[in-house]
Point group: C2
Chain length 284, copies 2
Amino acid sequence: MNRNIEIISSLKGFQNYCRSNRLARKTIGLVPTMGFLHEGHLSLMRQSRADNDISVISIFVNPTQFGPAEDYDAYPRDLDRDSRMASEAGVDVIFAPSARDMYPEGYATYVNIERITEKMCGTSRPGHFRGVTTVVSKLFNLAQPHRAYFGQKDAQQAIVIKQMARDLNFDIEIIVMPIIREEDGLAMSSRNKYLSPEERKAALVLRKSLLMAEGLFKSGVTEAAIIYNRIKDMIDFEPLAKIDYISIVDADTLDDVGKLRQNTLIALAVFIGKTRLIDNIILT
Amino acid sequence: MNRNIEIISSLKGFQNYCRSNRLARKTIGLVPTMGFLHEGHLSLMRQSRADNDISVISIFVNPTQFGPAEDYDAYPRDLDRDSRMASEAGVDVIFAPSARDMYPEGYATYVNIERITEKMCGTSRPGHFRGVTTVVSKLFNLAQPHRAYFGQKDAQQAIVIKQMARDLNFDIEIIVMPIIREEDGLAMSSRNKYLSPEERKAALVLRKSLLMAEGLFKSGVTEAAIIYNRIKDMIDFEPLAKIDYISIVDADTLDDVGKLRQNTLIALAVFIGKTRLIDNIILT
């Protein structure tokens, strides 16, 4: 189903496109991405295609969500490949603005969520979520979509976006889609590209430790401290892995839980070599 | 032109009302207020009525823009009187939400503008502009108006709102209307109600000192330091007045200017007794 896909770089052009569709009473689905698309993104696009009359995505490597020592410059980019993939996933328009247009000289406005952004990825990436909520606010105002799609792989981000949409009264339904994995279980991520063959193998420890934890929970182990230590031991045993955090929290509030239960989120961030990977599981 | 005015307190109800009008291709004008309406507000409403198919106002004394030692509880409220006045100014709907609905338990999201909020009123009222930009973001998302109206009396607020709308890509035209004054020159303000008869007289020193400064400029005095001292001397001479700030800045950027010129903003905040009043003039 290769369609005629349009790439819009102008903010006004994108805003006008979305406004005229909205006034024509078409529903609009938005998938915000940083590009270098993979099956995870495509699953969001296919859902957006199924749910809405118009399916738009943004491709924008957002500088404000990267720390000074992070991989903004190195982050992989391939708009040609992305547009072929998006086209096949039924996307009507790719919005691909420049950083200069998104953050012109004198730019000074930031959207910040307190508390839930201060733990987990917020601890190791200060300012990251402020950059995410700021750019997503801008994209929401430009597209004014009926629905916006995010991946469960970024579990904390999904909760942060939901809170922002609720608090700021965005008239947008936030839809969170399941993690998509490689055949061997590694969660899909544009950053997997950074991994050497040995690192690629070592990276499986994230998923393996989560499955081990789920197995312990199903067999009746509910002490968070015990589960934490078992995960830590398994990851520490992998020489190429270095733990950033292991969090065992309520999946809605991100509050720490002492006992595992339904709707507990176990979330990991682990450096494999220099590449920081995240993965998570929600217990059911 | 007394019209049938509707008061909506539910956020969803207001959002639905505005959405259905927008989809019917009616233009919507929004005047955000804290109520206790005066001729200043009415001038915004009349302009909104003239410019748009639908004219809505919000009446909400916004707790997040008051400091802990400020007059949130004492701020005057009179919804009956306000609705009569708004009705006569051709308003279709008053949105009057509760603080609990606007900031429910667990609320955590704030919109912040850097730099231009850190001087003038931002110095003496820390957190004030963060409260203003947050509530205006919420009102913008609820109403999604075509135009929103603000008064030049709050000169810094008008610039902050314009910057926010530009930075966050709100699809809304921000319109700033001139200061409306009492016959003797006092800028209209809901807080004028706090003034005793003697204070009411003393309060004229704000306007008088601005007119004096304008006169000096027209006669060729352009040194900001000289103008500053002449304003300071005049206000200091009034026993009931205590200067909060005198700012001589560019009217668009709020950068200090050393020499007065076209488009210089002279802005004052002065305590008259316990009441903090503001006023300003733009040189032409």
